[in-house]
Amino acid sequence: MQKNRIIVSGFLILALLFSMVACKDTAVDVEEENEIITTVKLNFTSGGTTQTFVFNDPDGDGGSAPTKFDNISLKPNTNYTLTVELLDESKTPVENITDEVEEESDEHLFVFTPSPTSLLTYTYGDKDARNFPIGLTGTVQTGAAGTGKLKVQLRHQPPVNGKEVKDGTPTTGSDDVSLDFNLSIQ
């Protein structure tokens, strides 16, 4: 009987010890929450007028389909200034990702690829600290009338083993943005 009581109290002490380490309520506060790029704006300016073409997917990758995917329509044989804006509209207030790309221009590169290539020619208008292009600002010279695609890519090229890898070509890194806009020159 006596022995049993010792055993029972032994068990209880263990259970108590156990519950002491057990109850702690914590919260996960993600201070630096993941950003998502929901919106890409392409601003084409020529002779004081600006045309803006937008891709917008408010809930990010997957989920609902993109709500806006404009067709780019430009005049033939015209010189445009092209600036790019990136936004995260899933956050309040809306987060401007363009600034972040600018801050880390040494690991970012925009690539604009028309197909067919005759539709337009892109020339970078900005450079990072190591003299490689970025592509937040540039000029576009359109060719003769025609239709096709304009692929807009943002290559993210962060350092590998602490060494910078951006060399002005799109080869390394991965796509943060990769969109095929319909393009018509008319």
Partner: protein, 808 residues
């Protein structure tokens, strides 16, 4: 034929030799080539444990050598065998619940046979050595890795360690992350029992390796096939049990130091154990106290394939554990705490932006030179995984008149951070915090009618996962898995009858599970609560027939079930490493496995063979299947994958054999053959390990051993040919070439490896074991179907491994 075998008389000499071989076989059969050179002290004691009154063999009795604190349990025929003893005089103690201890003195020169006769009687359990769960399924196929075989895997991850067992392979993410695959299944379907506690971590993820330091274990057992009755839900493919040695109850201080160096990646691993105890001499009641402290340090840098080095493939680990127990006459309590910390670099070239990036990488064949640097570094950069796992275990055992009662409580805390390459050095891609409480009350009853042994138990498991905000108020919808709370409970009964050459085992279990999920669906602001309930019965039936000491037959019919996990239900997002868009299905049902297996063992002096044939039918098998159509995101097109379920059948053969060609030379062969079929859609399942055949030729001389191993892994020809979703319009399917896969399975490969082992014994307790192994001897460039990086990088190249174990 049976009666002929029955009637065959075997003279005692031969019989004992066969028993010896059987034990040798059962303990080391499934092991690799590199194992077991002649032991430094190679004497052994063996015999049978009998009920003094009925003369029936006693199964599961503990027999141990007092002076060495070394023991074993009797097998299905009541036999025991304790090897690797030095010459001398020993005290042998036999004990089991419900019987009186019996002590014998044995003078050991080379071998000794000692019959142990136990009488039923008053409880007397001063020092019960609970080496293993006594209610282990004896009628289920079991493969054990211990002693020299385990030593030869030291320094490797748990997944790599288990590859030594036929039927077990790995699912890899590069060469640093590998998780065990049993009979083609992995993750939640493989249950891991770490020191008696069910490992609860982030095992749902295919790139989440088990958070366990294999140095804690002195014995690793793999149960192949469904084992739901004893271990609860999820044990569909099998169970992996890691057990440390019983805590010492002598006052001697002992321990061991293991050091391993791998040339590839300059990896250094050091692990140490220190143990001892107290035993008051003049105490009123016999009592003792034992402790063990253990720690492991691991550091490795970038690894190399035969032709190039892979950037950011380093790994670092710091682990420790402490254990202590206190024993009285008829009860004992044990406390154990372990912490596992790791940082694993993920190959920089594996960050895939979208399917275009992936296709480019596949086309290139070798990674870009920027990802294959000339210079070696230990530095771990982004992307990497940072994981901590804590385990606290409390166990008390109490001896009652009618049997043994034990209570096991566990608390686990798992913290996982996956850091990707993000803009602005933002560091949180995914963060998981999982806290789990487990409890089990187990009652092992004294043999009833001297016939029926068994146990019954109740388990409960409560867990809470936090990925964002607080449990009920998540703050983000961009998480991979939502916050949840999960409660499971189960009750079971397993009974066993042992009669001469026959053994029958049967069991039944009931489980329930309640899952509450708190999440913010995509593009919404409000928190949605989902609640899911499941309940199930599972059963097991096993039959063991042992006509003589050469043959053993095992027939096993078991079941297990698994409720869908949170990622299978609610995933909705892009998985970067895999360049896939994964979508869960909240209407998934629980999957139910029915496993039929048949095992034959044949053992003679020169030839040992184990044949395991299995058929695992799984109703509602849940898997991730490609839809073949791309999902448009801002980052470009991602192939879409849906979680779905089907009826599946896994059937195969594991064959292993050992042939003693000559006194010093032996040949060991292991073959794993598996076919996994999606029955509903009449095509093979995706991501199933290809067939493999491994052969080792070993030369052993005194305390040295040399071995040469050849491993052949076939090409996986059984891959799905078509997309299974009929609701996807044909014209939307663009990835149709390899049934939704991005590339065909890699070709077959052959690998050679060699090992040299040497044992040095200084005295009874102190010894040094050293070995040199060369893995991938010919520096073969190859890729494995079950490595997620097979699309763009080769496997690890030649690797020299130097191991030293010093025990004192």
């Amino acid at each position: 034929m049976t009666s002929r075998l029955y009637n065959r008389m075997i003279d005692p000499m031969k019989r004992s030799l066969l028993i010896f071989l059987y034990f040798l076989y059962s303990s080391s059969f499934a092991q690799t080539k590199e194992d077991t050179p002649a032991a430094p002290c190679d004497c052994f004691i063996h015999g049978i444990v009998l009920d003094n009154a009925t003369k029936q063999p006693i199964v599961g009795a503990v027999v141990f050598v007092k002076e060495q604190n070394k023991g074993t349990t009797t097998d299905v025929t009541g036999h025991y065998h304790i090897a690797n003893l030095c010459q001398g005089t020993y005290t042998i103690i036999g004990r089991i619940v419900g019987y009186q201890d019996k002590t014998y003195t044995v003078k050991l020169v080379h071998e000794a046979e000692q019959e142990i006769k136990l009488s039923e009687g008053e409880l007397h359990l001063a020092n019960i050595d609970i080496k293993a769960e006594k209610i282990d399924n004896l009628t289920q196929t079991k493969n054990v890795l211990e002693n020299a075989a385990l030593d030869q895997t030291r320094g490797q991850s748990l997944g790599e360690t288990l590859k030594q067992i036929s039927g077990v392979t790995t699912l890899q993410t590069g060469s640093s992350i590998s998780k065990p695959v049993i009979h083609g299944m992995h993750s939640n379907r493989v249950l891991i029992m770490n020191n008696g506690i069910r490992q609860e971590a982030q095992q749902w993820g295919s790139e989440h390796a088990p958070e366990i330091d294999p140095f804690v274990a002195k014995k690793i057992t793999v149960l192949k096939g469904a084992a739901g009755v004893r271990y609860g839900s999820d044990a569909i493919a099998g169970v992996i049990m890691l057990e440390p040695e019983a805590l010492p109850d002598s006052t001697k201080t002992g321990g061991e130091v293991n050091t391993v160096y791998f040339t590839n990646g300059n990896q250094i691993v050091t692990s140490g154990i220190l143990e001892g105890g107290l035993r008051p001499k003049k105490a009123e009641v016999p009592q003792s106290f034992g402790y063990r402290v253990q720690g492991t340090f691991k550091r490795g840098g970038d690894i190399s394939t035969p032709n190039y080095r892979l950037a950011n493939t380093g790994v670092s680990e710091i682990n420790f554990s402490i254990g202590a127990n206190y024993k009285r006459r008829n009860w004992q309590s044990e406390v154990f705490f372990s912490q596992f910390n790791t940082q694993i670099g993920v190959f920089s070239g594996s960050h895939i932006g979208n399917v275009t990036d992936l296709i480019e990488a596949i086309k290139r064949g070798t990674p870009l030179s920027i990802y294959t640097p000339e210079t070696f570094t230990y530095t771990i950069d982004r992307p990497y995984q940072d994981v901590q796992h804590n385990l606290l275990k409390l166990k008390s055992t109490y001896q009652l008149q009618s049997g043994k009662l034990s209570l096991t409580l566990g608390r686990q805390y798992n913290y996982r951070k996956e850091v990707d390459i993000l803009r602005g050095d933002k560091n949180l891609v995914q963060l998981f915090q999982l806290t789990t409480y487990t409890g089990e009350v187990l009652f092992e009853h004294k043999p009833l009618f001297k016939l029926l042994t068994g146990s019954m138990g109740v388990n409960a498991n409560f867990q809470q996962n936090l990925t964002t905000g607080t449990l009920r108020e998540p703050r983000s919808s961009t998480v991979l898995i939502p916050n949840f709370q999960n409660l499971t409970g189960g009750i079971f009964l397993i009974e066993r009858i042992v009669r001469n050459r026959w053994e029958v085992e049967g069991g039944l279990r009931y489980d329930f599970r309640n899952l509450d999920v708190y999440r913010i669906p995509r593009g919404q602001q409000i928190v949605v609560e989902n609640s899911k309930q499941n309940e199930n019965f599972t059963g097991t039936f096993g039959l063991n027939f042992r006509p003589n000491s050469q043959w053993n037959f095992l027939l096993n019919l078991t079941s297990a079930w698994r409720a869908p996990t949170v990622n299978e239900l609610y995933s909705d997002g892009v998985h970067h490493g895999a360049a896939s868009y994964e979508k869960g299905d909240e209407n998934l049902n629980a999957e139910i496995a029915t496993n039929l297996s048949f095992t034959t063992n044949y053992i003679t002096k020169l030839f040992q063979l184990e044949l395991h044939v299995y058929n695992n039918y799984i109703r509602n098998f849940i898997f991730l299947s490609p839809t073949g159509r791309p999902t448009l995101t801002i980052r470009g097109a991602f192939p879409e994958f849906w979680y779905t379920q089907t009826n599946a059948r896994f059937r195969g053969i594991d064959l292993s054999g050992n042939f003693q060609i000559q006194k010093h030379i032996s040949l060991n062969s292991k073959l794993s053959y598996l076919q996994a079929q999606d029955i509903t859609h009449s095509q093979p399942l995706i991501m199933i390990p290809p067939n493999r055949w491994e052969n080792t030729l070993r030369y052993e001389w005194k305390k040295s051993g040399i071995s040469l191993t050849n491993l052949y892994v076939a090409k996986q020809n059984r891959v799905p040919a078509k997309v299974i979703f009929s609701e996807i319009p044909i014209n939307e399917i663009i990835f149709n070439q390899y049934g939704g896969d991005f590339a065909p399975p890699p070709p077959a490969y052959t690998l050679w490896s060699a090992a040299f082992t040497q044992q040095l014994k200084f005295n009874n307790r102190t010894g040094l074991d050293v070995s040199l192994t060369v893995n991938n001897l010919l520096n073969t460039a190859y890729r494995d179907y079950l490595n997620r990086f097979r699309y763009f990088a080769d496997e690890i190249g030649r690797n020299f491994v130097i191991r030293a174990k010093y025990s004192f």
